[in-house]
């Protein structure tokens, strides 16, 4: 078939395939996680970030950003949350944690592993969400009353996700 002049041909590169595979894995984790009942809105394990951590360590920040943002976008479409408040909270958290990961990736690798990346990203995630929530959804300082709970969740889940990411990379010789 000869391509006509109006046809635009997209040739996905190997990089694109890899991003898509990782994003798909992250989306699956997001959807699976949505089935877990949680006592407080906003507190969740963030299992999809395990994928982001692995991609960050293996392929660098650019690809991690692609995977994380595709996950936020498609995850919200699949769950029917696209453009709902929860979507903007996820987006704010995702962007904030990507900034944190960008900084954390420059820490010396010998001393700071995936657990550091994970905990720092988790704190940035809840901080980003909280700022959006304070400015837009709950314009009252009362939201900061929940900071200790979010901080505890970020510590615990950040540690757990970081350890899982570290072990995944170890098992596969990364």
């Amino acid at each position: 078939m000869t391509p006509s002049a109006t046809e635009i041909e997209l040739r996905p590169t190997a990089d694109d395939h890899r991003v898509a595979r990782h994003a798909a894995a992250a989306i699956v984790l997001t959807v699976a996680e949505a089935a877990i009942p949680l006592p407080l809105p906003g507190v969740k394990p963030g299992l999809a970030n395990i994928v982001t951590l692995v991609v960050l360590a293996r392929w660098g920040w650019r690809e991690a950003a692609w995977v994380a943002l595709l996950r936020v976008l498609v995850g919200s479409l699949v769950l029917g949350q696209f453009l709902a408040p929860g979507f903007f909270l996820s987006l704010a958290g995702g962007l904030a944690s990507l900034v944190a990961l960008g900084v954390a990736a420059h820490l010396p690798r010998r001393a700071f592993g995936p657990v550091s990346h994970s905990v720092l990203a988790a704190f940035a995630h809840f901080a980003g969400q909280l700022v959006v929530a304070r400015i837009w959804l709950v314009p009252h300082d009362g939201v900061f009353y929940l900071v200790p709970i979010f901080a505890l969740a970020a510590t615990v889940f950040g540690l757990a996700n970081g350890l899982v990411a570290a072990r995944l990379m170890e098992d596969r010789g990364g």
Partner: protein, 135 residues
């Protein structure tokens, strides 16, 4: 406990992935948790007592050292007792003793009013949960 060694090996397998800097980050994270809980959840803790007599501020005392304050009023002397973190009207010449029977005040915003003797005791905090509290 036959499970002990297995559990320890399991934990060690995870702990192997913790590097020195990770422990530092985790320590900081726990520190943020504790500091934010202490800083944000103790707004109700009072740090000073404001004593008024005849509508004017008679004395403002820090709630850190125990002491007793004697406040003169039209009926006599009201005795206010201060202890770390709390305060009460220990004795009052008023007829119904409402302010004395309120007992210890320990929340920012709490007030004991001895109306007949025109004396009041109020606790204030950095960020009180309430503007005023009475019972």
């Amino acid at each position: 406990m036959s499970r002990g060694p297995a559990l320890r090996a399991w934990l060690a397998a995870w702990a192997r992935h913790l590097r020195a800097g990770d422990l530092l980050v985790l320590g900081l994270a726990v520190g943020v948790c504790i500091a934010s809980a202490l800083g944000l959840w103790q707004g109700g803790r009072p740090d000073k007592a404001v004593i008024r007599a005849g509508g004017k501020v008679f004395l403002e005392v820090d709630l850190s050292v125990p002491r007793t304050v004697e406040v003169p009023g039209p009926l006599g002397t009201t005795r206010i007792e201060i202890q770390p973190g709390r305060a009460r009207v220990a004795a009052d010449p008023g007829p119904r003793q409402y302010c004395v029977r309120q007992g210890w005040l320990a929340t920012a915003g709490a007030v004991a009013i001895c109306a007949p003797n025109q004396v009041s005791l109020a606790l204030a905090g950095r960020n009180a949960d309430y503007d005023s509290l009475s019972y």
